[in-house]
Amino acid sequence: MFVVTEHSPGQVSARILGPYALESQVTLLRGRLGLDDPLLLRYGRWLATLAGMADNRLSDPVIGLGLNDPRGARYFGNLGFSLMQKQPVIDVIGRRIWPTLALTLWSVGIMVPVALVLGVVAGVAEGRVADRVISGATMVLTSLPEFVTGVVLLMVFTGWLRLLPGVSTLDPGDRWSVGAQMVMPVTVLAVASGSYVARIVRASVADTMRRPFVRAARMKGLSQRSVILRHVLRNALIAPVTVILLQINWILTGVVVVESIFAYPGLGALLLQAALFGDLYLVQALTMLALSVAVLTQIAGDLAYRWLDPRIGR
């Protein structure tokens, strides 16, 4: 990713200086920032700056970009400057990360139990009315892009019923409470990922129900309830746990969309603005952050799978 954003040194310095810069200025900055050095060296420098072991050349007063960091040019977590907001990236992210965390945690917290229950109910009743209704509904919901769910909810609850606010800036002085502002963003995100999880759980439960050991447990005379709770679920929920963790990929995308629809003051909307502005240090930091989250959850998913399924070698 570093490779893609910084592949052309001329563009980097042109982006920093904006559209009205002279060619000579661009070339000068290119030299001052060491943009013509080999890529690996520049990546090493970026890492060293982040770790607080090297100066951030952007805040060098000789260059005179007017980018000042109260912490100085060398500190841990130095990710450069947001060109859009003329502030250190770390401060910008620090301000915006909490709303995004709240949004994702609320949606996951609501989505997981609901999706599990729906999936198990449908899977156990495979082919019957409850299954048809749940399967049909989750199939349609999983097909709706987040922006469609968002726009339709806005039409109904803001435009028509006037029950919920149309923007969620989380401003405490707003006439809507912060809780009311959270309802729709959380719902949209939860619906998008929850319908998918419910489908996976259903497929896994239905598949397990057809396996011979379930029939054996029934023939032992165990009640339906204990067959399902003790035998089916234990086996059927292994795969979905990994899927839930891998949902983070969808959620990362969903966060960008949902935050943009509702003007929510989080990292997703920030990433979009930064990308459209060409604020490359901010985009770099945000995408690195998103990728670290994605990779970490993927590793967590693999570990969870190993831990839950004794058949896979440790």
Binding site: M1, V4, T5, H7, S8, Q11, E126, G127, M139, V140, T142, S143, L144, P145, E146, F147, V148, V151, V152, L154, M155, T158, G159, M209, R210, R215, R218, N249, W250, L252, T253, V256, V257, S260, I261, L271, L272, A274, A275, L276, G278, D279, L280, V283, T287, A290, L291, A294, V295, Q298
Partner: protein, 277 residues
């Protein structure tokens, strides 16, 4: 009898129904896209100033117009063209790369497999939208960047699936026989192995087609897609959503169009999965 004992036949029947309805919707939209110039009542950018004053659906404009007075039905029809050009292009690239990489990894094994598999494991973590955002920061929004982002995001998953299929097939007798006849590896992969791996790959294709329609719509919605005069469903939703409280039709109809295509793809995927045991 144990509940669900006789599900085999009924599942297959439901699967066939799902395949038919999914295909039906997709063919409908594909025809609309193909014959857009013939069926669209107006040009997609033609402005009707009289209608702009009252954009609601009327006899002249059955689905109404947008705020500029452009006929919504015509823009929907032309928008189908955008979707049905961008999505197959991007998906095609992703599947060609993914199948090639997966087949090579599965067939040759050894270090080839190790390199391809590790690389795709890493790439699997990248969400497509994030990839695209990185690409446009560096190179600006464009069709080729959409194709690159979709390929980078989806090819690893396709490769993983294809590799598993090839691994399962390559030990079979007819593959051994082809090897004994001295056929070159590429011809064995293309003529003997891939045709038999098509089932799961088709299901995956249908699923990813749905994701790609969502992704392309989302890019349009976020203003990251193709430039504005192109009639694009996602872009139409965002243009209409500003006036949602008054003129609900502007955002609703493109929403329905996008959703119907994604639902069709998912029906197709579900149906293909259930129809073949």
């Amino acid at each position: 009898m144990i509940a669900g004992y006789d599900l085999g036949g009924r599942r297959a029947a439901r699967g066939r129904w799902a395949v038919r309805s999914g295909l039906g919707i997709l063919i409908f939209w594909a025809l609309v896209a193909a014959f857009a110039p013939l069926i669209a009542p107006y040009a997609p950018s033609a402005i009707d100033f009289a209608a702009a004053a009252d954009p609601r659906p009327s006899a002249v404009h059955p689905l109404g117009t947008d705020l500029l007075g452009r006929d919504l039905l015509s823009r929907l029809i032309w928008g189908a063209r955008t979707t049905f050009a961008v999505v197959p292009l991007a998906l095609g690239a992703a599947f060609v790369v993914g199948i090639a990489a997966g087949a090579v990894a599965g067939y040759f094994g050894g270090w080839t497999d190790a390199v391809i598999s590790r690389a795709s494991d890493v790439m699997l973590a990248f969400p497509a939208l994030i990839l695209y955002v990185i690409l446009i920061t560096a190179r600006g929004p464009s069709l080729s960047n959409i194709v690159i982002a979709v390929t980078l995001a989806y090819a690893p998953g396709v490769a993983r699936l294809c590799r598993a299929q090839v691994l399962a097939l390559r030990g079979l007798d007819y593959v051994r026989a082809a090897e004994a006849r001295g056929e070159p590896a590429w011809s064995i992969i293309i003529a003997e192995i891939l045709p038999n791996a098509r089932g799961p790959l088709l299901v995956d294709l249908a699923l990813r087609a749905g994701y790609t329609v969502i992704l392309v719509g989302t890019l349009g919605f976020l203003g990251l897609g193709l430039p504005p005069p192109t009639p694009d469903w996602g872009g139409m939703v965002v243009e209409g959503s500003g006036m949602m409280a008054v003129y609900w039709h502007m955002a609703l109809f493109p929403c329905i169009a996008i959703s119907s295509v994604v639902i069709a793809c998912n029906l197709l995927a579900d149906g293909l999965r259930e129809a073949r045991p």
